[in-house]
Symmetry: C2
Subunit: 496 residues, 2 copies
C-alpha cells in the first residue's frame, strides 16, 4: 500500500469512530435513560481515547511526509493530505498528559459551572475556571509553537482553519463601530410602528412537529439520511448519511422551535451535501465552524426570516394552528421574526444585537488567553463592555459572564465563528441572489431549490478542498466584507 | 500495575466498546434512517475490529499467566481471571484470516438467505451455505484443539460455557422419547374441552404499550436503566445500565406482543440484576445463553402463562381494551396462552412443541459440523425428522430448513440453548416455589417480588462466578433434570 492509501484507510477508521460517537452523543441527549449516564460517559471516553491513539500514531507523520512528496496525487487528494496533516498537527501538538489534565479540569469545571450559574456565584467558580484557563493557555502555547501563530490564533485555528485574529480584529472593530448607533436607530424605527400583534396558542407539539418536518422537506432535508427529534439543547449531530437535528417545543410559542428547526436544517443541509466521493476523508468534511454557522444562518436568518419566505409560510401556519385575525398576517409574522431587543443573554439575542454579544466574548477570551487579563477581573470587564456595546448592564453574573458553557467547557477560540458565520451568510445570500434572480421569488412559493442548488454547488460539495477564504472568494468574488452584512442589517431593520 | 489490574483495565475497555456496540445495534434496529445502513455497517465493523485487536493482544496471555499464579486474589477475582481466559482463548484460537473469511461468507450468505427463503430456493443458497459451513468446521477444529473438546462442543462452548453434547444428547434423547406421545395427548385433551373464545380487537398500539410498561414495572424492570421500543425483530439489547427491549405490535392481536414484552423483560431483569460491583468485568456478565433463555422463559412461560398471573392480568386487560363477555375471563386467556398446535415454524411454536423444533436442529447441526452429513441432504433429513418428532412434514423448504437465520448467520451451536433454557426455567421456578410459598400467590396479585427476589439472589447477582451446572446445583440442589420440565408440561397441558 502507498503512504496515501495507508492514510485514507486510517482516516476512514477515525471517521467510523466519529460516526459511532455522533450517534452515541445524539442518543445521550435524546433517548438514553438517566441511570446510564456513567456507563455512557465511559463508552464515549473509551472511544475518544482509541480515536486519539489512532491519530497520534507516529507512522502517520511518516506517511504524511511520503504522501506530501508523491507526484501521482490529484488536486482533491493533495487537499486531503493537507487536511490530514492539519488534524494530525492539532492532535500531536499537545502532550498526552496535558490533554488528560485539560479534559479532567473541564469535566470538573462544567459541573461546578451549572451550580455557579444557578447561584450567581462567580467567586465559587473562579478557582476551577482558572485551572481550565491555565491549561488552555498551556495548550495554546504548545499549539502556537507547532503552527507558528499566536497562542489565541492556535486555539481559533482548531475551530476556524486558517482563521487569524488580526483579520477578525479589523472586521469586529468595524462592526463594533457600527452596531451601537444601528441598534439605537433600529429600536426607534421599530417603536415608531404599530405594536406587534401577539400570537396566542396553545400550539400543540404534534402540529409544531408536522410543520417543522414540512418546512425541512421544503428546504431539501433528506429524511432517508436523517431525523428530527427532541432534546433540551437543540443541535445538529449524528453521523455521515445519518444527520440528526433536534429541537425543543413550547406549547405557548411555536416561533422559536420552528426557527430553531430551520437553523439546524441549514447545518444539516451542509452535512448532507458534502462530496459523496470523499466520505470518511478529511477533505470531504465541512470547512470549519464559521462556514457551518453560515449555512445554518443562511437558511434561518437570510432565507426564512425574509418577507418572501414568511409570505409563503404565514397561511400554512395560520391554517395548521387554526389562527385568526391580523396577528397571522405575513407582515405581523415578519415583525415577530425581526424584532430587535437589547438583552443580556446571547442565545436569546436577535440578529441585530447578537454580534455585540460575540464581539464582547471575543475580546475578553483573547485577552485572557494572551495573558493580558486575569479571570478575577472578568465580571467587571464583561459588564463594562456590555454597556459600551449594547447599552445594558447585567444585574448579576448569571445574566453576565456565567451564562455560556464555552469557557468552563474548554471551547476557547470558538465564539468569533458565530458572527463570522452571520457575515458569511449575508455575503453568500447576496451572491446567490445575484447569480439567480429566482432565489427570493422561489422562497415566496416555498421553493428553496434556487438557493440550495447554488449552495450545494459552491459550498457543500466543496468539502474542505479550499481554505475558508478561498472558498468564499470563489463563491462570491471577494473575501469576507463587513459591508454586505451591514447593508443587510440596514435594509431589514431600518428601511423596511 | 499488577497483571490482574492490567487485565481489569483492558476488559473494562472492551466492555465500554461492547456498550457502544449495543447502543449502535439497538439504534440500527429501531431508529436509524435507511440511507445510513452502509455507514453504520462500517462503524460497527470498525469497532468490532478494534475490540478484537484489543482482545488478541499477546500481552493478555502473559497477564493471564501471571494473574493465574497470583496468591492475593479473592474468589471473585479468580473467577474473573478464569472468564477472561475463556474469552481470550475463544478469540485467539481462530487465525485472523479465518475470522475475516468467515465474517465475509456470513455477510454474503445472510443476504442470499433472505431471497432463498422468500423464493423457496434451497439449491440457490446451497453453495454459499456450504462455504459458511466449511469455515465453521475449520473454526470448530481450531477451537477444539485449544479447548480439548470435540469440534461441535467447541462451537457450543462459545454460547454455553462448559456445555457438552454428550450431556445434551442424553437429555434430548429423553425428551425426544417423551414429546411425540405427550403432544398427541395434550392435543386430545385440548380438543375435548370447549373451543377457545376468540379475543376480538382492534387493540390500539398505545394501549398495548401502556399495558406492556405496566407489566414490565410489575415484574421489576428498572426504567431508570432501560427502555421499551419497537423493532421488526424483538430483542433485548442496549448496554450496561441501559437495557433496551423491543417488541412489535399487531392491532388485531395483543397477546403476542404482550407475552413478547414479558419474555424480553425476563432477559432484561437478568441484565439489570448482574452484580453491580463487577460492571465491565467478565465475571459480572450473564452466565451463558441457556441461563439467559431460562430467565426470559421463567418470566414468560413459568410466571406469566400461569393461571395465577393471568387471574391478575385478565381484568386489567379487559378494562384497558374495553373487552366484554366470556372471552375475557382468566380461564379463556389462560387457554389462549397455553394453546398447543403442531406447526412448521419454530418462532411461532408453543411451549409444548418448541423442544421438538430445537432437538431437530441440534441433531442436524451436530452431524453437519462433525462431517457426518452434508448440506445437500439437509432438506430430506429435516423433513424426515419433523415427521418423526412432530408429526408434520413441511410442504416447502421455506417452511422447513430455510426458516432460521442461525446457520446462514454463522451461529452454529446456539440452538440447544433454547430448550436447555426452557428446562432450566422449569427447574428454577420449581425451586423458587419450594423456597417461598408466596411465589405463585404473589403472581396472582401482580407481585413478582417473591420470584424475582429469589432469582436475583440465586442467579442474577452471581454473574459468571460459577459454571452453569454449579450455579444450577447451588440454586436448586441438583443438575439439570428433564423430569422437572416434563412434570411441568404434564401438569400444565394434561391435568388442567
Amino acid at each position: 500500500m502507498s503512504a496515501y492509501q495507508e492514510l485514507t484507510r486510517r482516516f476512514a477508521r477515525l471517521s467510523a469512530i466519529d460516526n459511532a460517537l455522533g450517534i452515541l452523543h445524539w442518543d445521550q441527549e435524546t433517548t438514553m435513560p438517566e441511570g446510564a449516564s456513567e456507563t455512557r460517559g465511559e463508552a464515549l471516553a473509551t472511544l475518544s481515547v482509541l480515536r486519539h491513539e489512532l491519530l497520534v500514531d507516529p507512522r502517520i507523520g511518516d506517511w504524511l511526509d511520503e504522501a506530501g512528496s508523491a507526484d501521482d496525487l490529484d488536486d482533491w487528494q493533495r487537499a486531503n493530505v493537507r487536511e490530514m496533516r492539519r488534524l494530525w498537527v492539532h492532535a500531536t501538538a499537545v502532550p498526552a498528559d496535558l490533554v488528560e489534565a485539560s479534559s479532567k479540569a473541564v469535566s470538573r469545571c462544567e459541573i461546578a459551572w451549572r451550580a455557579a450559574r444557578r447561584d450567581n456565584d462567580f467567586p465559587g467558580l473562579l478557582p476551577l475556571l482558572e485551572e481550565v484557563l491555565r491549561l488552555q493557555r498551556e495548550t495554546a502555547r504548545a499549539k502556537a509553537e507547532r503552527l507558528g501563530v499566536s497562542p489565541y490564533d492556535a486555539l481559533l485555528d482548531y475551530y476556524e482553519p486558517g482563521g487569524r485574529s488580526e483579520r477578525i480584529d479589523a472586521i469586529f472593530e468595524d462592526l463594533a463601530g457600527f452596531l451601537p448607533d444601528f441598534i439605537e436607530t433600529a429600536l426607534s424605527h421599530q417603536a415608531a410602528r404599530p405594536p406587534i400583534e401577539p400570537l396566542s396558542g396553545p400550539f400543540p407539539v404534534e402540529i409544531q412537529r408536522e410543520i417543522g418536518i414540512r418546512f425541512m422537506a421544503a428546504a431539501g432535508f433528506d429524511f432517508n439520511r436523517g431525523r428530527l427529534d427532541v432534546s433540551v439543547h437543540p443541535f445538529c449531530g449524528g453521523a455521515e448519511d445519518d444527520v440528526r437535528i433536534t429541537t425543543r417545543y413550547d406549547e405557548s410559542d411555536f416561533t422559536s422551535a420552528l426557527m430553531g428547526v430551520l437553523h439546524e436544517t441549514g447545518h444539516a443541509l451542509y452535512e448532507q451535501g458534502r462530496p459523496a466521493g470523499w466520505k470518511g476523508q478529511p477533505v470531504g468534511a465541512a470547512r470549519g465552524m464559521s462556514l457551518h454557522e453560515s449555512q445554518s444562518l443562511i437558511i434561518e436568518m437570510q432565507a426564512c426570516r425574509s418577507r418572501a419566505f414568511l409570505e409563503w409560510a404565514a397561511p400554512i401556519l395560520r391554517e395548521a394552528f387554526r389562527g385568526e385575525g391580523p396577528a397571522w398576517s405575513a407582515d405581523n409574522l415578519y415583525r415577530h421574526y425581526t424584532r430587535v431587543e437589547r438583552g443580556f443573554i446571547r442565545v436569546d439575542a436577535d440578529e441585530a444585537t447578537y454580534p455585540a454579544h460575540v464581539i464582547l466574548r471575543y475580546r475578553l477570551e483573547k485577552a485572557l488567553i494572551q495573558g493580558e487579563m486575569e479571570l478575577a477581573d472578568l465580571p467587571a470587564a464583561w459588564n463594562g463592555l456590555m454597556e459600551e456595546l449594547l447599552g445594558v448592564r447585567p444585574p448579576t453574573d448569571t445574566l453576565g459572564c456565567l451564562q455560556d458553557i464555552h469557557w468552563p467547557g474548554g471551547a476557547w477560540g470558538y465564539f468569533p465563528t458565530y458572527t463570522l458565520g452571520a457575515m458569511t451568510a449575508a455575503q453568500l445570500f447576496d451572491a446567490a441572489c445575484r447569480a439567480d434572480g429566482d432565489v427570493l421569488p422561489g422562497l415566496s412559493r416555498g421553493d428553496f431549490q434556487p438557493l440550495t442548488g447554488w449552495l450545494r454547488e459552491h459550498i457543500h460539495s466543496q468539502g474542505s478542498r479550499w481554505s475558508s477564504e478561498e472558498l468564499l472568494i470563489r463563491a462570491t468574488g471577494r473575501p469576507l466584507d463587513a459591508e454586505v452584512f451591514k447593508h443587510h442589517l440596514r435594509t431589514r431593520y431600518l428601511d423596511d
